[in-house]
Amino acid sequence: MVRKRRTEILINGSKEIAGRLAEEIAGKYEVAAIEEPGNGLVMVKVRETAKRSLFYLGEVFISECKVMINRCVGVGMVKGHEPELAYHLAVVDAAYNADLAETKAWTEVLLLEEERIGRQREALKSKILKTKVNFETMDA
């Protein structure tokens, strides 16, 4: 599974999944810490819609971690102070980058979680759409 999709699932889904996958790898392989989990900033670049130009909206507080497995680097980063999740994301990233056999079995787990997130999102949409205005034309 590509990184964009799997990081969306691991961050929006249950944190337990990232923890479980990372523990599976840490129990079998040597995980070397390149950069311990720490805090930093990501500057957000936005395209405004009046002239379609770019500007900086501000920064987002993040946690980031870097690890190495089988000489392959993995990066974990997430909004907020989440050092444990950043570490787990880094291990999962390194496992994919090192093409470890375990990652093949993860697809099913991730897809199931993606479905669960999707259902939650649909329920949220449904709630929000209750506030959609239904205009009725009044008789003169």
Binding site: V2, R3, K4, R5, T7, E8, I11, N39, G40, L41, V42, M43, V44, K45, V46, R47, E48, T49, A50, K51, R52, S53, L54, F55, Y56, L57, G58, E59, V60, F61, I62, E64, V73, V75, M77, V78, K79, G80, H81, N97, E122, A123, K125, S126, K127, I128, L129, K130, T131, K132, V133, F135
Partner: protein, 378 residues
Amino acid sequence: MGYVAVKGGTLAIEESIKRLKYERLKKGTVLECARIEGGMRALIDQVMSEGSLYSETLAAIAIKQAEGSPEEAVFLLKAYRSTLPRKHYSCTVESTDMFVERRISASFKNIPGGQILGAAHDYTLRLIDFALQDETDEGAVRWLNRFESEKSGIDVQGADLDNLPKVLDVLRNEGLLLPCGDNDREPDDVTKESVQFPTSRSQRLQILTGGQTGAVTSLGYAALRSFGALHPTVGELRVGNLPIYVGSLLGEGQAEEDYYYIGDIKVTEAETIFPVTVQKENGRKEIEFGIGYGMCYGQNETKAIAMSILDRCLESGDAGYPVYDEEFVLLHINSVESTGFISHLKLPHYVTFRSELDSVRKTRKGKGTVGEDEGERP
């Protein structure tokens, strides 16, 4: 007159800081940060927006420490931000990717995707709800459970809240707005280089979005009421979550599939429409539409709309009013700068004031000045 170095006051300052803590705690109750985060959403959004730093948790701690003073909380947030490394720049965020929770237009009744009111104070009676005095955690949980279990009965098919079309595209499709392609020039960054005038558009928008809410609103109101007498129409106001991605750091290229997702941020976006009279080559006057743009962290609707008004004023830069003057607007809306400069007046000005005092006494010499010996002598 020479300067005289003095010292003292250390103990008084230590006691003053202790006294400040006493004022925060004197009722014997402690406000938990999680409760601030849960119940002070608007204040957190304001502090994050003026602090140009997105973190509800940090904003909640700052608000607690500042006893609810937004200017002090923003100061704390900005000071902490300056200690952190900027690790990355995000991939370009497009507001069409927003998961919309609220979206209204004052320009068109029927807009693609519909008018979605979401959560807003606009439709409430502004009467104090005294029942809130007796609100409990248990009651809140019961209310939440009831709310969650309410059947919506809404078919979400075809209402794609994370891909709603923009209202302005209606005008663009009719040729009433000039078509405009993407301008990919890298933005300037006011946190890296000091501002020189005239500014670039990216500098103006970065300063406006981090501006003090009250200042941005007041200047926007001034432009609206009489100093320029603009009357824009809100083309679209959106509140929702934007996904943030960072490009790959591992030298794999910048394919979208290799992006790192780091989470969502809640923002407000305002697009306001201004009628503009333009003279064509044949001398004929035509009315076209100009757009003002505003976006800020959190749900800050008044600020986002006011920002869009000021954006439009500064883009046109004429009319002879202060709100069209970028130096006037941009140098006076920063919370830390404006409150800091006003606050500096509380610092000792003994020498300066002594000099003024001497001048006043000289001008009054011989006129029977009262209290000459009562003046302060530091």
